[in-house]
């Protein structure tokens, strides 16, 4: 026999009594868990074991160790962005694109651009493509005995990989871009902020040398100022479930570990790409040559994020329409600039596609 239902006014009182007791108790428990979390060890980042195969100035070329035989596929060279640390693609155990590809049998390599010092203000965008990236590709092909590599570039790394593929087609077996900006006159806020009238990039680099990491990070936070609050709320919600906090904590650690951008690289990136949008007009000069996107004839996979506010999806997808390749695929996944490629959604939506695509074209 069920208990008789309470009259509504008593039920409300009962709910109020329960809430009055449980809410502060729950808040105290969460605060204690948060303190324990902050006092505890940091989440390990960049967990996949690797060997440093080559160094040049601050750059390191990493080759990830494998436990099983490699596929008969071209080696995969990951080209991360130059405005953040490389290990976003090897974030933490279970959220590492490197680990995923390696476990699928690929021979995975990654460029760590290093931390530029004040003297690196003179390192140019051309140096990144024609010296550093070229040397890394040369080193990978020499070590593996393969003629060409599969380039997988993330964000500005995707732009560098694209420039390289256009200039050195014979050395690239396939090209994958993850949220790589190509058409810079998009609807994004960064495009609006960097217009010459508002942003004196020449004066800034002449005065400061390198572009300070703190300023870049602040500008990214301003793109969607409520994100930090949402992340903190999510942390509060899950603070009693440490296993669900591994990814956000690793991501937070990565987000606080920033690097300056070499001044001359930043100058050209803003002036020729954001302000003049030369790449899509085939007028961008790298190493004294014009970059023509139609010279990219290798298979191309363009991966974008539907809610990307740093590199809006149409900016990346413009590449697929301009290359000379007959094998160009575009996939727009859910999420934002980072989560779409390293977060839980990436594991479901993006990584399996990338694996199949690379395996088919290897």
């Amino acid at each position: 026999m069920s208990a008789p239902a309470l009259p509504p006014e008593l039920a409300l009182l009962e709910w109020w009594r329960d809430a009055a007791w449980s809410a502060p108790r729950d808040a105290l428990k969460r605060a204690a868990a948060l303190l324990r979390l902050q006092a505890g060890a940091e989440v390990p980042v960049a967990p996949t074991p690797a060997d440093v195969v080559f160094t040049e100035n601050k750059l390191r070329l990493l080759r990830y160790r494998r436990s099983k035989a490699a596929r008969e596929a071209a080696p995969v060279l990951l080209v991360p962005s130059i405005i953040n640390r490389y290990y976003v693609l090897d974030l933490t155990r279970g959220f590492s694109l490197v680990e995923f590809l390696r476990d699928q049998g690929f021979d995975v390599w990654m460029i760590d651009w290093g931390t530029p010092g004040p003297e690196d203000r003179f390192v140019t965008l051309d140096d990144h493509v024609e010296r550093l990236l070229l040397d890394c590709v040369h080193e990978v092909t020499r070590a593996t005995g393969r003629r060409a590599v599969s380039l997988v570039g993330y964000c500005i790394g995707g732009l560098l990989a694209t420039l390289f593929a256009a200039l050195h087609g014979g050395r690239v077996a396939s090209l994958v871009t993850l949220a790589a900006p190509i058409d810079f006159h998009d609807e994004g806020l960064l495009s609006a902020w960097t217009r010459p009238r508002h942003f004196p990039v020449d004066q800034l680099i002449d005065t400061w040398g390198n572009m300070p990491a703190a300023l870049l990070q602040t500008s990214f936070q301003w793109l969607v100022p409520t994100v930090a609050l949402r992340q903190n709320l999510a942390l509060w919600d899950r603070v009693d479930q440490p296993e669900k906090l591994v990814y956000p904590r690793a991501l937070a650690r990565w987000a606080e570990d920033n690097v300056d951008v070499p001044g001359e690289t930043y100058r050209k990136f803003v002036r020729d790409c954001y302000q003049r949008n030369l790449l899509v007009q085939d007028r961008l000069q790298v190493g004294g040559r014009s970059v023509r996107l139609r010279d990219i004839r290798c298979p191309l996979l363009v991966l974008t994020a539907g809610e990307d506010h740093i590199c809006p999806a149409p900016s990346s997808e413009a590449l697929a329409r301009r290359v000379g390749s007959t094998d160009a695929t575009v996939f727009r996944g859910p999420g934002r600039h980072i989560g779409a490629f390293v977060g839980p959604a990436a594991k479901r939506e993006v990584w399996p596609r990338l694996r199949s695509w690379l395996a088919e074209r290897g």
């Binding site: 709910w15 809430a19 809410a23 040049e56 100035n57 010092g117 004040p118 003297e119 690196d120 203000r121 003179f122 390192v123 010296r131 040397d135 020499r142 806020l189 609006a192 902020w193 217009r195 009238r197 508002h198 942003f199 004196p200 004066q203 800034l204 002449d206 005065t207 400061w208 040398g209 301003w222 969607v224 100022p225 409520t226 609050l229 949402r230 709320l233």
Partner: protein, 92 residues
């Protein structure tokens, strides 16, 4: 009845509207021009201070910080070139 759910729903509504407002505000030519002008003025001041420090260093017959950095960069480039040459000569 879960009061936290209402809190979350309210937060979602607030976030949606705030984000939209921020996006419009941060595109405003008025704001961008004001920020650009402030940045320009601040850079001009810093540049003047640096130029003045450089003048004093030159008068004292010392290299400027920029000259130091340039030299360091050239040395880094030279080291990389040597490394490249060594690799090329070592290859069969």
């Amino acid at each position: 009845m879960d009061p936290t759910r209402y809190g979350r729903d309210l937060f979602d509504i607030w976030e949606k509207h705030t984000s939209r407002w921020w996006d419009t505000a941060l595109r405003s030519p008025l704001l961008l021009e004001a920020m650009g002008d402030t940045l320009r003025r601040s850079l001009r001041l810093q540049e003047a201070a640096r130029a003045s420090a450089d003048t004093w260093l030159r008068l004292a017959g010392l290299p400027t910080p920029a000259e130091h950095l340039h030299l360091q960069h050239r040395l880094n480039q030279l080291e990389a070139d040597l490394q490249r040459l060594r690799r090329l000569t070592a290859e069969p």
